[in-house]
Amino acid sequence: METIGNTFPPISTGKVVPLAPLTWRERVRGLRRAIWKHRAIYLLMALPLLYFLVFKYWPLWNTQIAFKDFKPTLGVEASPLIGFKHFATFFKSYYFGQLLGNTLIFSVAKLILGMPLAVILALAIYESSFRFLRKVTQTMAYLPHFLSWVIIYGVLLALLSPGSGMINEMIKAGGGQPIAFLTSPNWFRTVVIGSDIWKETGWSTIIYLAALLSIDPLLFEAAAVDGASRLQRIRHISLPGIASVIVVVTLLRLGNILDAGFGQIFVLYSLPVYSVGDIIDTWVYRQGILEFQFSLATAVGLFKGLIGLTLIFFSNKIAKRLTGSGIY
């Protein structure tokens, strides 16, 4: 008889021993014993747990200032409650539509364009049979991740400046007119998305490479024996093998959909491109932090968090239904 999955060996006596239901006390004792038995593991877990409690959960208590007219002298609890006024201020602010649009454009574009490129690069590195070339490519691809946006701004200026940038020099040499990449609303988004992809694609491959390495090599060997070409192996083994990781990464990114990269935009944007570059976070910095409106800044933060949470919740459900894997 054909069996599917793991089967337990038959109990030798053939008798079924009924288990008495555990009392509450016994359960607690059992848990205590289990914790004590694995105390080293629990101790190890204590620090990250503490980190989350202190830096992630405790601040949640303070998010109540989003609904209050926060006065530092009165403190968080005693500041007067004003309801949803700060949310209304944000939604009714002059540039709200533009900020939301820009934020979503940057975020979605970085996700949609960045992720496939990272997967392709990871596959290319994994498939490469030249060890030296693979290592060099990996190192070179990781390197930009470690450069700060301030440095990359310098690099971009040297490349794109209409006055003396290398690319504009080439355009001029070809008889074209120089392009103000960094100050032209037509080009700014391309520069932002392009530079982000350039900086982060290499680093993003790490997780996909790790997933590829976890695929059983026997599958590849069996496919090769069966005459599958390299592309067929990628299509039928590699991609399905890392599909769950792709789903998880995408879901996690969706949670931060309204984070379009403050550090990058803050360094790269300037007055001529505010209309296409200003995002929610740069607005919060100017209107919330610099104008001493912390309640407003918190309200926006809360709004972003709620949108992220909702997206994660629904997309996780959809992902589970479609692919059978999710993040929880």
Partner: protein, 559 residues
């Protein structure tokens, strides 16, 4: 065994992490050696100007517990670090004044410093005494986080006489008749003006431009006629950048184009000539004409096209590389030894001369807005309530006395500086490595902005005349003298105007549109201009003007 050891190590690591996290930051403990280094200053009979030699009037109570004072201050030299732990000032503060001093340097970028102070304020954890820009200062006063300091002035009579007796400066920190800050003299006024490459003018046989038309002609020639003779068209008539700092609440195009607005009789964001004329300058039809002129320069391609995105340092790198023919630059950034060295090396025959602001169609000209600046030092309400006001006054009074002034301004006499026969500070015969101007010694003078009052001693010490590597005689103060001889528009009241109603959105709308107009990103004509003004009104410009007018009239800046 191994398992036990592993668990024990883990526990120790965790415990030490907790302890490290819970331990408060230790205040620097001055060493005994530091005290010995302090040379008691000998009173100078002949001094060119202040500071006074008077000792601090108030001594700490004989056996009182030392008071902890935390001060946040902007670094005087941005690239140098914190004063060392064995800084003599710490020991003197402890021994003589009964104060445990802790100094924290603020980030050098203005917005970063604002963000740091705002964050501390939100946690109701402001330091006892701190330097703060006017916009955040105003908001902190509104939130009742800053204490009044009127009662501290009698406790520091000498300092008050030297620094806090200027009516205009005091007005800048006065709200409802009360002083909410100590107005330390700010950056020097009238320090940024037009300079032009005289060697390029000579090479192309051009006259010094006198009018806006001349300016365009010269700028075109500098761009198109290869003034540096390298065979490439890689120079620009005019270079600039948009600074976000030090230009008031409505930066617009920044300071670099102020001379154009001056040619149309408009400087800064506001018309401050009289209560009748008071309004945002953009309402004046001449403002549109000024923008049209700037746009004509952009269209002609004579302005470095990177100007809207360049940071200050990159702009400076460009003129040092010989890319710019005319610019609006700070006198010290141009002529101080370390700043001029690269240009001197690259262009031994290059010469920057001061250029008068070109005249406009009605014969008007002005280099820019002349503002009295102050660096505001505020006392937190928390500190005042804790009874620290007297200790703050004691410290500040000592700082402005002979001992404090020289120690904080120039280091230790005989080690870091000397005084010449006229009482001026010099580093002659001082070990160059120990001179107060040497990079390694700059942390010793990080607080000099808390004592300096722009007197002759400081000016001579800070802006030293020298001979360049190519033998050119340079004197930064001569540049400053010529800058100041140019026509300027008095606009001090500008500093007192509070932030606009819509805050950052109003500022963005104002500045973004002006930049877009001159860059041609939106058409500049009567209709679009009217739309822009209507947009401003829609954001509350009229209310803002009325409020600003009332503030100026109450403080007496507008008659």
């Amino acid at each position: 065994m191994n398992k036990q050891l592993y668990k024990l190590t883990l526990c120790v690591v965790l415990l030490s992490l907790f302890l490290a996290a819970c331990q408060p930051a230790a205040a620097p403990t001055p060493t005994a050696a530091a005290t010995q280094e302090v040379v008691a200053p000998t009173p100078e009979p002949a001094k060119p100007t202040e500071p006074p030699a008077a000792p601090p009037p108030t001594e700490p109570p004989a056996k009182a517990e030392p008071v902890d004072l935390e001060i946040w201050v902007g670094a005087s030299v941005s690239e140098a670090g914190q004063p060392p732990d064995d800084w003599a000032v710490y020991q003197i503060a402890k021994d003589k004044l009964g104060i445990n001093l802790k100094i924290v340097l603020l980030p050098t970028a203005q917005t970063d410093a604002d963000a740091k102070i705002n964050a501390a304020a939100a946690a109701n954890d402001l330091p006892d005494l701190f330097q703060v820009n006017r916009e955040p200062w105003y908001r902190l006063v509104q939130n009742d986080l800053i204490a009044t300091v009127d009662d501290l002035l009698p406790l520091m009579p000498d300092r008050t006489k030297i620094l806090y007796s200027n009516d205009i400066s005091n007005k800048l920190v006065t709200i409802d008749g009360k002083l909410y800050g100590l107005p330390q003299p700010g950056a020097l006024p009238r320090t940024d003006a037009l300079v032009i490459r005289q060697d390029w003018l000579t090479k192309l046989s051009l006259e010094m431009p006198k009018t806006l038309e001349d300016f365009t002609t010269v700028a075109k020639a500098f761009t198109e006629n290869d003034p540096d003779g390298n065979g490439k068209q890689d120079t620009y008539g005019f270079c600039g950048y948009i600074e976000s700092e030090g230009v008031g609440l409505l930066p617009g195009l920044g300071k670099r184009f102020e001379w154009v607005f001056g040619a149309f009789g408009l400087n800064g964001a506001w018309n401050l000539t009289s209560a009748e004329n008071f309004q945002l300058n953009v309402r004046d039809p001449n403002y549109l004409k000024a923008l049209e002129y700037i746009k004509s320069l952009m269209d002609a391609g004579v302005v470095d096209p990177d100007w809207p995105t360049l940071k200050k340092d990159e702009f400076r790198a460009r003129w040092k590389q010989g890319k710019c023919g005319i610019m609006n630059e700070h006198f010290a950034a141009l002529a101080n030894k370390s700043n001029y060295a690269d240009f001197d090396k690259n262009f031994p025959d290059g010469e920057w001369v001061v250029m008068s602001p070109p005249t406009g169609p009605e014969g008007k000209s002005s280099m820019g807005a002349d503002l009295t600046n102050v660096r505001i030092f505020a006392v937190s309400k928390q500190a005042k309530d804790a009874g620290k006001g007297e200790a703050i006054a004691r410290l500040l009074e000592w700082m402005e006395g002979e001992e404090g002034y020289y120690l904080i301004g120039f280091g230790t006499e005989g080690v870091n500086y000397k005084k010449d026969e006229n009482g001026f500070v010099t580093t002659k015969d001082i070990d160059p490595e120990k001179a107060y101007t040497h990079k390694s010694q700059q942390p010793l003078t990080q607080l000099r902005n808390m004592v300096f009052n722009n007197n002759e001693i400081e000016m001579k010490a800070r802006y030293v005349a020298y001979k360049t590597a190519n033998g050119r005689e340079m004197d930064p103060l001569k540049y400053l003298e010529q800058y100041r001889a140019q026509p300027w528009t008095e606009a001090t009241g500008w500093s007192i105007i509070n932030p606009p109603p819509g805050g950052a959105d109003f500022t963005r709308f104002y500045s973004e549109n002006l930049v877009q107009f001159v860059l041609g990103q939106q058409p500049l004509n009567e209709q679009t201009w009217a739309d822009f003004l209507a947009g401003l009104d829609g954001m509350g410009a009229k209310d803002y003007e009325a409020e600003a007018k009332a503030t100026l009239q109450i403080s007496g800046f507008l008659k």
